[in-house]
Amino acid sequence: MATRYIAGRVLAVVPVLFIVSVVVSLMVHLTPGDPVKVMMGQSGASAEEIEQIRAQLGLDQPLPVQYVRFLKDLATGDLRSIRTHQPVVQQYLELFPNTLQLAVVSLLVAIVIGMLLGVVAATHQNSWLDSFSMAVGFLGVSIPNFWLALVLIYVFAVSLNWLPATGAGGPKLLILPATVLAMEQVALIARLIRANMVEVLQEDYIKTARSKGLRERSVQWGHALRNAMLPTITLMGLNFGYLLSGAIIVETVFARPGIGRLIVDAILNKDFPVVQGAVLLTATVYLFVNLLTDISYSLIDPRIRY
């Protein structure tokens, strides 16, 4: 049963990936005006150069041919930036670990803070601690991450001079970006943990655990939290996309090399091959992370089959 379910899920990704790749490969044609002129911008390319780039990108060929060519170029490393002429896939793979590192660290930060707030809120329901935890969560989803980043840079790098502000490198440079990226997740995790814990705390097995004479703390953190965790796992998998989104802004503000910044720079420079390659690769990563989340979820709890 499980293999059939997994096979079905994997197969379902194929048409989605097909649609994404078609749209991405042909997206230059959706720009109003001549895409090559848009790409060359104000640099004042001659008519000859424009024709040359048009031919290089294969824009003069029929659409299906362009699609196949795009995939082939992507696979063989011939899809190159029109500015730096570097292969897009290689650039993406070089930068991906940076972004992944940022995403994973911030997820850990978010889980620790979110869980703490969620459990405190659930075990002190309707007290000021509850309101406080939820208020922190609310603020987390409402504050723009680019502004939070600027504020933290101002406080910790400019005023106090405790931490470096921008760039990439040691763990110290990860603290501020990871905190900013974690804030949105904190709110979501805290709210979910709280909602689930409130439900779980009503269960009979919690009463049993209490009547056995277990200390309240081990009832809460051991029994209740563990059972409230499951929905959180899915959320975290699904939120991987949000982390990638957030990384786009965080990397830009903190001047950290990564795929987010690669994409933003490419978009600002109208470097379409880079945008195309990076968007398709990111969508692929995202689809497979979601797939893995679904599958692991169904393995953890066999009752769940979508």
Binding site: L150, V158, G241, I249, I263, V264, L268
Partner: protein
Amino acid sequence: MASATVNAGEAIAGKTGDKRVDALARTEGRRDRRALRRLAQHKSAAIGFGIIVVLIVLALAASFIVPYDPIGLSRNVLQPPSRDHVMGTDNLGRDIFSRVLYGTRISLQMGFIAIAIAATVGTTMGVVAGAYGGLVDNVLMRFIDALMAVPGILLALTVAAVLGAGLYTAMVAVGIAWIPSFARIVRSLVLQVKEMPYIEAARSLGSNDSRLIWRHVLPNALTPVLVLSSLGVGSAILIGAALSFLGVGAQPPTAEWGIMLSEGRQFMRSAWWVMAFPGLAITVTVLAANLVGDGLRDALDPRIKL
């Protein structure tokens, strides 16, 4: 689905004059009023709603209130907050208070227009997919999956890059990023409603498809679409400001909060006020929108988990 039963009730009552069904419809009226009362008693939602109303008034009256031209330059550059300039001035001598106030217009427009686009297109897609099923459903939903495979801000960034930078293309871009949420929730509702016995009853009484959709399906979708819209406005304002911050949204010298932040960051060291107030403005606006959305969800349909 309590409201579903009642619409059925109304439909049948209209034709057969069944007293019991009329009574049922009246109960529903009371339930709506009860939902309104619940909303009024929701303290944080009331606060959020109050802030939004104030912001709308400020946005409408901005040209009467502002002490200075929001894009008018002056010699008084980077002045700290004072009696003449309550929020100080920026590097071009523009009054920050006036710019923040004008920015309210743009951000509220961004939130409402983007979500209106998403709600209209998404609801239509959801209704069509759910009502017709089969191949239509399959194709539409794969497109929605494809949209969802590119996480939020990356999708908006890509659309903005393709359509060209600008405030209105940014609104469209943010709207497109929100289409999947509406399409999916409306589709699942249509699927639920389709199975209701009263749909069969209405059909056997001679209702055609479009009448069924307008009279019975859409009224049921209203509550979740409203809740999702109100939750979406805050996020749309955030993404819109982020696009402008990154340079693909509204363009300088427009008085827009994201632009003000991206311009102000260079002067962080010497003039904190340049980036403090626009960021605060975004946070307050988004927080208010989120509070209203949260309250609406609790009051109208506590079962919807978004």
